[in-house]
């Protein structure tokens, strides 16, 4: 395996990785509020829950290249179609986990939260979300890792990121370049996964669970 290209072009690869991460995080930042709105509708309005879950699930089954090709005529090239693609695919993981997390909280705990005199917003911010947080974060983790993988397609429509490296390696028949891109993308995904797992372990629920296991 030829790692020469990887080590000779570390600066460029690092720059592309950061760009890739920036695109991915931008997509996540857009995807999260969208997913939160869809999920809250699903949680509050019971009859809408299953249809919403089916819909985000169905969107995920569309082949990614086909969707990008479909978006180009109306959205052009660059960041816009890439972000639309990423935000769409992230929904299934985010919505599924936010809904599962929120509906998984013991109704008695929520009733007690109301009963002690919390306002609806306080119930959400002090009890409901904190208890659901580990499940939601797990969804964020899977969504972000998926986004990082899919964002390679951004290289195909000149959105930048590590996809540019990979596609140019393929187009110029330069296996060492492809390998370098591959190493970068896998590292990025693994580090992101690790970072969010770390975040999950800092939640109050994880702390309580550790205490419970001890004694």
């Amino acid at each position: 395996m030829d790692l020469g290209y990887f080590f000779d072009n570390l600066d460029e690869i690092l720059a592309l990785s950061l760009e890739h991460l920036r695109i991915s995080l931008t997509a996540l930042m857009i995807a999260l509020p969208v997913a939160l709105v869809i999920s809250v509708i699903g949680v509050w309005f019971r009859p809408a829950r299953q249809p919403l879950l089916w819909t985000v699930g169905a969107l995920y089954t569309i082949p990614s290249l086909a969707m990008l090709a479909f978006l180009i005529p109306s959205q052009g090239l660059g960041l816009r179609p890439t972000l639309i693609l990423l935000v769409t695919y992230a929904q299934v993981f985010l919505v599924r986990n936010i809904v599962t997390g929120l509906t998984g909280v013991d109704p008695a705990v929520l009733e007690a939260a109301r009963g002690v005199g919390m306002t609806p917003l306080q119930v959400l911010s002090r009890v409901w979300l904190p208890i659901a947080l580990p499940v939601i974060l797990a969804g964020v983790r899977i969504a972000l890792v998926t986004i990082i993988g899919l964002a390679i397609l951004g290289g195909w429509v000149t959105a930048g990121g590590l996809g540019e490296l990979l596609f140019s390696g393929i187009n110029t028949n330069h296996p060492a370049k492809v390998l370098a891109g591959l190493i970068a993308i896998v590292s990025l995904a693994l580090l992101t996964d690790l970072a969010i797992r770390l975040l999950e372990s800092f939640t109050s629920v994880a702390r309580a669970r550790r205490a419970g296991n001890r004694g």
Binding site: A108, V109, G115, V116, G117, M118, Q122, I131, A211
Partner: protein, 333 residues
């Protein structure tokens, strides 16, 4: 704040008028035109089979459920005129499933209401230790534990401490001890009585357990199909059930059962002059069934009945127990 925040020395008066609750899609009212006046410091037990409306009635007081019609007035203030969250901060609330916040330590759970009321940190901390002591949970052992590290009885103690935190003049308790084993339940009932004696909150307590009702209640409210069937002291309910339904509920046809529901003080001959010198004595709060076995075991004709301070307040004989245990319609009553 519209509801008086007294220093835990007395309870609220509660006046319920023509209170009705209909759930959507159900033809019968869950609570049907109920009237009930509760004096400050009373411990009222709402008793009845499941589905009789007792829990619905309870949960309309702190507006977990909203009434279809009728009114609830606490200390002269209509509860519907208050913001629900404000109202609830001054009403202690204990439920059977405890509803402890699993991601918070015991101390944080108990501090929830003081925090909502924006007490300063020192006052809150002091109050939390005080409450943990009061509910039999030494703070140095329990303050930093999580609910999942506690037994069922300990969890419900935390639930009780959380409800008592801001010294609410009213407490609502929905079958709080229903999921506990018999020994733990009795112990917690005793502690609730002690706390009630000390602070005289007004307490509404829901149960379907007649023995629990008799142990705790100043007055028992028997409910059936959304209506109040009978209101009376435990003794009145056990001795003179208003109808067949109440009679079946309290099992008043069964003599032994009646004896196990009536405290000794209700059957004794009050003391006349100097206390007699009797070998055996029994607390006035102990049920007649136990007094009977003591009489039979000792073979003495009389045993002394003592008050809460330990001094004799009356005597009990076979005859007095027989008289007390006679069924409601017996001629010698």
């Amino acid at each position: 704040m519209a509801i008086n925040q007294r220093s835990g020395t007395s309870g609220s008066s509660i006046s319920i008028h023509a209170l009705t609750k209909r759930y959507p899609g159900s033809s019968a009212a869950a609570v049907n035109a109920v009237d009930l006046d509760i004096a400050p410091g009373e411990l009222i037990v709402l008793l009845g089979p499941s589905g009789c409306g007792k829990t619905t009635l309870l949960k309309m007081i702190n507006r977990i459920y909203e009434p279809t019609s009728g009114s609830i007035v606490i200390d002269g203030v209509e509860v519907q005129s208050l913001k629900a969250s404000e109202l609830r901060r001054h009403i202690g609330y204990v439920i059977q499933q405890t509803g402890l916040f699993p991601h918070m330590r015991v101390a944080e759970n108990v501090a929830v209401v003081p925090k909502l009321l924006k007490w300063d940190r020192d006052r809150t901390r002091e109050r939390v230790s005080q409450l943990l002591e009061l509910t039999g949970l030494p703070p140095e052992i329990y303050a930093n534990r999580y609910p999942s590290q506690l037994s069922g009885g300990e969890q419900q103690r935390v639930g009780l401490a959380r409800a008592l935190a801001a010294e609410p003049p009213t407490m609502l308790m929905d079958e709080p001890f229903g999921a506990l084993d018999a020994i733990t339940r009795t112990r917690l009932q005793d502690e609730l009585k002690r706390i009630h004696k000390q602070f005289s909150q007004t307490i509404l307590f829901v149960t379907h357990d007649i023995e629990e009702a008799v142990r705790l209640a100043d007055r028992i409210v028997v409910m059936r199909e959304g209506r109040i069937v009978q209101v009376g002291s435990p003794l009145e309910i056990v001795r003179e059930p208003a109808d067949q339904f109440v009679s079946d509920l309290v099992g008043s046809q069964d003599v032994l059962r009646r004896l196990s529901l009536m405290p000794a003080r209700t059957a004794m001959e009050p003391l006349n002059g100097t206390p007699p010198d009797l070998a055996q004595s029994i607390s006035g709060e102990v049920f007649l069934r136990e007094a009977l076995s003591m009489l039979m075991e000792s073979g003495d004709p009389f045993i002394a009945v003592t008050g809460s301070d330990g001094t004799a307040i009356g005597t009990l004989s076979m005859t007095s127990i027989q008289r007390a245990a006679a069924p409601p319609d017996a001629p010698n009553r």
